[in-house]
Symmetry: C2
Subunit: 391 residues, 2 copies
């Protein structure tokens, strides 16, 4: 393991290890501590450049990168290379962190696939484990020509292209983890980089987000989750967390039910400022915040007691997850409507089991109703509004 | 029970009762017999007029009609009245026929609901029965103003309206029955009537269809199902079954998987010829064919032996059902995107339980693979092509 990888792993582990202690301290102190640590991490990123010998850790990845290694080595400073190496590393670190929480024999199945038109991906799935009922961590690195429908869709979202068919490149990592224990929330994250070339040159942007879907509300966990994301954001732009938290609440919405999918997190699209390296460093911080935001929650609750009632509620909420993903999620629809799409990688986000009961309503004052209130009225977990008023 | 209702009930029962005997006879004979019976039924319809005293059998319905009875009695020959009475009767007959197959205590829950803008519906759901895991039979009778988006959607489907917002009336019955035993297929049907008024007057049309989704293929059942539908069609137009069977195969398709939802049936939209009464009589025949097409199959298989393996396969196929309904079904999307939609009535079509496994593939030469072949390549169940070539 190289020095840099060792440093990163140590950082991750120390986050996880220190969570228990942190829980006993007060919020203010923790907040200051993580923001401080975040700033140091930020400085380190700013000074780093893509050094192939250190970064290209093939033996640590889940599979060989999608792009031939010789090509990656030739273009170490190209953002396409940097993004591919980032998502390879994030995928491997996250899969290993999840496997550590599982029984010995539960390991990720790794599928490396290629795409006719160009590129491919690596889909890692762990199914029917003791801790994780279904966990999918996917990376894809694809290129080719955007069909007119896709160009049109991007235009409606504010992109200004001069043609109907355009060469593009897209690289991203996405994951959805559905634990077995209803006291452990589902997490989803996705970080992606796009390049589209028209006659004016290359247009690039980043998108992404991380969000949490609990079945039973634990306010301490939700606060920890949001605080970890805020720390990742604050190191880059103090306005990011507030804006991207709201964007997340707005995006992961199930309008026909008037509820959100979960307790939110952050979500952003079309990040193309202040410059490419800064944007990449921001996305790197967010992706690196996934493990410290989530694994401590898994460790805390994976052996919590639960019964038939809690399992049934979890299955109903998983039905809502399916509703959001199949009806509203742009990524899922964009993927499925793409000819020759690898639908198994797109639909790995769906839970192993889900349930739909007619007219199910939680009992008044139950734990289930407590969750529903937060899903209907998103909460300001870090009391930003209060802090703003005091200031 | 009035004479006419008694005749109808007798017809239904005799269909069901005679199925076992019919199964032993050869296809040709059965075909001739049902077409003959169908023709007699057709003559009876042609000669009948909407006689309120005979037809308005409130005590037999699942609930009071949506439209006030005084209003229905005032306009007995209005197609809006005739359609509402038809769907009330079809709902009641089908719910009672399903309850007969259930244990004594399993009864439909009846929800009568109203809609702010005008009209309402009656949603009947039987959940967690011994025979039916989830059965939903819904009628709705609604009126109001079509929003511009809906007018636009209708225009893209060939309707020619001169305005952006138009008064409309819609009445329909729809049902989805998910049995517990994997050897019993799921059935879906929907029959509907629309009126839209623009400056040129009232434009009206009917739509509908009935289709079957087996978990294990039984060719005899599929043939019986299609034959019953063909009989209902042939009494009105010999070209209907062939055209509507193909329309059904095309509509209930899951493009991202390259498979159909089930073994098809019939599907049609925009039926506005040869005249309103004939079109209504055709829809009536189709709706009345539901019980004889399906109940014999339920009776034949509801106590078939099955195990864990078959249940798991059924749950996976129910996942595909969810995919079709949430991603592709026009009715579901149209419903959910309508403000103030009663989503519980729209989503009652979803199964109680569903499952998604990553990369599930049936074993070669298994019963599961046999089903998949038919879903990937729809079959000409009644050998129409062969018959055409011989002729």
């Amino acid at each position: 393991m190289s020095f840099k990888v060792a440093i990163r792993s140590f950082k991750t582990l120390s986050y996880v290890g220190s969570y228990k202690k942190i829980r006993e301290r007060n919020l203010k102190f923790y907040c200051a501590a993580v923001i401080g640590a975040g700033y140091m991490a930020y400085q380190q990123h700013k000074n780093s450049s893509a050094d192939m010998k250190e970064i290209l850790q093939i033996k640590n990845y889940m599979a060989e990168p999608v792009t031939p290694i010789s090509q990656l080595e030739k273009n170490p400073n190209d953002m396409k290379t940097q993004m591919e190496l980032l998502i390879m590393r994030i995928q491997a670190e996250f899969c290993r962190a999840l496997e550590k929480e599982e029984d010995e024999e539960a390991k990720f199945l790794v599928d490396r696939w290629t795409r006719k038109e160009g590129g491919g991906g690596i889909t890692c799935v762990l199914q029917d484990g003791r801790v994780f009922e279904k966990a999918g961590v996917n990376i894809s690195v694809v290129s080719g020509t955007l069909p007119p429908a896709a160009v049109q869709q991007m235009k409606t979202r504010g992109k200004n292209f001069d043609s109907q068919e355009l060469p593009f490149f897209a690289a991203g990592v996405s994951a959805v983890i559905h634990p077995r224990n209803p006291m452990v929330p589902t997490i989803h994250f996705n970080y992606r980089y796009f390049e589209v070339t028209d006659k004016n040159g290359v247009q690039w942007w980043f998108g992404g987000g991380t969000d949490l879907t609990p079945y039973y509300l634990n306010e301490e966990d939700a606060t920890h989750f949001h605080l970890t994301l805020k720390h990742a954001c604050d190191a880059h732009d103090k306005t990011y967390y507030g804006r991207f938290k709201k964007w997340c609440d707005d995006y992961f919405s199930i309008p026909h039910r008037g509820e959100r999918r979960g307790v939110g997190g952050i979500f952003f699209d079309d990040i193309d400022s202040p410059d490419q390296t800064s944007a990449f460093n921001f996305v790197t911080s967010c992706a690196e915040a996934v493990i410290p935001s989530y694994i401590p929650i898994v460790q805390k609750h994976k052996d919590d007691a639960y019964g038939y009632h809690e399992r049934q509620w979890q299955l109903l909420r998983r039905g809502r997850y399916v509703e959001f993903n199949l009806i509203y999620d742009r990524g899922t629809k964009f993927g499925l409507f793409t000819p020759e799409a690898r639908y198994e990688s797109i639909l790995m986000s769906l839970p192993l089991n889900a349930k739909w009961e007619y007219m199910h309503t939680p009992k008044p004052n139950s734990a289930e109703e407590k969750l529903m209130k937060v899903l209907k009225e998103p909460r300001d977990w870090l009391h930003l509004e209060q802090a703003r008023q005091v200031a």
